[in-house]
Amino acid sequence: MDSLFLTNLTSPPLLFFLLGVAAVLVRSDLDIPDQVAKFLSLYLLFAIGFKGGVAIAESDLNLIVARDLLLATALSALMPLYVFQLLRKHFSVADAAAAAATYGSISAVTFVTATSYLDAVQVSWSGYMVASMALMESPAIIVGLIVYYRTASAGDTGRDTNLREILHESTTNGSVFLIVGSLIIGWLVGPQGYAQVKVFVQELFVGVLCLFLLDMGLVAARRVQDISGGRQMIGRLLLWGLLLPVINAALALALVTALNISVGDGVLLVVLAASASYIAVPAAMRLALPEANPSIYLSMSLGITFPFNLIIGIPLYHQLLAWLA
C-alpha cells in the first residue's frame, strides 16, 4: 500500500504543488502571472480533451460506455442533494447550496492529475472518461440552484432569477466548452490528426502540469490564509472539506465495484466524485447565487479538498479499488 502513496508523493507534479504551498508558507514572492496560469489550464483542458477524443475515435463505443456516461451524469446530479442536507445545519442556505453544487461538480485538474498518476503507475484508462468528466461539470450547478430556490423563503429570492440564463451559464462556461470542443475535434480528426500535435499534447503534458500545480499550490495556500471568521469557521471548513470528498468517493466506490468497472476507469470516476469544482461552479455561482459567500465554498474546494485529493485521495482510491477488485 505504501508504495502507491510513495509513488504519488515522488511524482514531479505533486512535488511542485507542495513547492507552491511551501512558497506561501515562507512568504516567498514567487508568483505565476495570472494570464499565464490561465493559459496553462487552457492547455491542460485542450490536451486532455483532444487525447480523450482521439481515444474514443480509436475505441468502439458500446452500451457499457453509454451506461458509464449516464452513471457519471446521474452521480453529479445526485450528490448535491445529500451534500446540501448535510451542510445546511452548519451554513446558510445559500452557502450550503453553493457548496452542494461545488461538490457535485468536478475539478478538471484533479482529474488530469489522476490520469497522469495512472500513466505513471501504468494503469490503463479509457478515453471516454474525459467525456464523463465533461458531463459532470454542469448538472450539479442546476441541481444546486433548484435546491436553493425550493428551500429559500420567497423574500430571499425576490430578484430576477432566470433559469434559462443559469442553464446557459452552466453549460457554456469556458472550461466546459473547451474540453467538450477539444474532445469532439479529437474524435473527428482521429489518430491521423493527432499525429500533427502529438509532441505538443503528449510530451509537454507532465511538464506543464508541474508548473500549473506549482501555481495551484500558491493559490490554494493563499486561500487558506485568507480564511477569516475565527477558529470555529476554520474547523468547520476543514471538517467538511475532508469529509465530503470521502463520502462522495465512498458512494462512487460502491457503484464502481457493483458495476465491475475497470480499475483505471474506476479510479477516475471515484476521483471525479470526490473532487470539487473551483472553476466552473464558482464562476456560475457568482452570477446565479451572489449571496453565497465564495470564501466558504472556494476555501473548502480549493484550499482543503483539492490538496487532500492530490496528496492522499488519488492513491487511496486506487488502493481501495485494487483491494476490492
Binding site: 464562476a283 452570477l287 451572489p290 465564495p294
Partner: protein, 98 residues
C-alpha cells in the same frame, strides 16, 4: 470644458459583462474598463490570481454630463453592489470636449 460627473465603479470581474450591458442599455455616452484589479473590502481580500477571475475586480470609469442619466446609472448599479459587493464613487470633473 464642460462640467460633468466622473463615476467610478469597482465590481467583481464576473459581473463586468452585466454592468457593461446595463450601461449601454441606459445609453451612457461611453465607459472605460480596467480589468484584473485586486482589492479588499467588507467581503475580505480579493486577489487577481485565480483562473476564473472570480476573485478579481474590474474598475469602470464613466464620464457623464447628463445629471438625470447619472441618477439612473446610480440607481441601476445599486442592487448589483448590495448583492455582490464593490463600491461606486461619484465626483465632479470637467470634460475636455474636442
Amino acid at each position: 470644458m464642460k462640467a460633468c460627473k466622473r463615476i467610478e465603479i469597482v465590481i467583481e470581474h464576473p459581473l463586468a459583462p452585466r454592468l457593461a450591458k446595463l450601461l449601454s442599455d441606459l445609453g451612457v455616452p461611453g465607459y472605460t474598463m480596467i480589468d484584473g484589479a485586486s482589492g479588499a473590502g467588507d467581503r475580505g481580500t480579493r486577489r487577481a490570481d485565480e483562473l476564473t477571475g472570480v476573485s478579481a475586480n474590474s474598475v469602470f470609469i464613466i464620464a457623464c454630463d447628463d445629471e438625470s442619466l447619472v441618477k439612473e446609472i446610480i440607481e441601476g448599479i445599486r442592487p448589483m453592489l448590495s448583492t455582490s459587493g464593490g463600491i461606486c464613487l461619484v465626483s465632479d470633473a470637467h470634460w475636455v470636449k474636442h
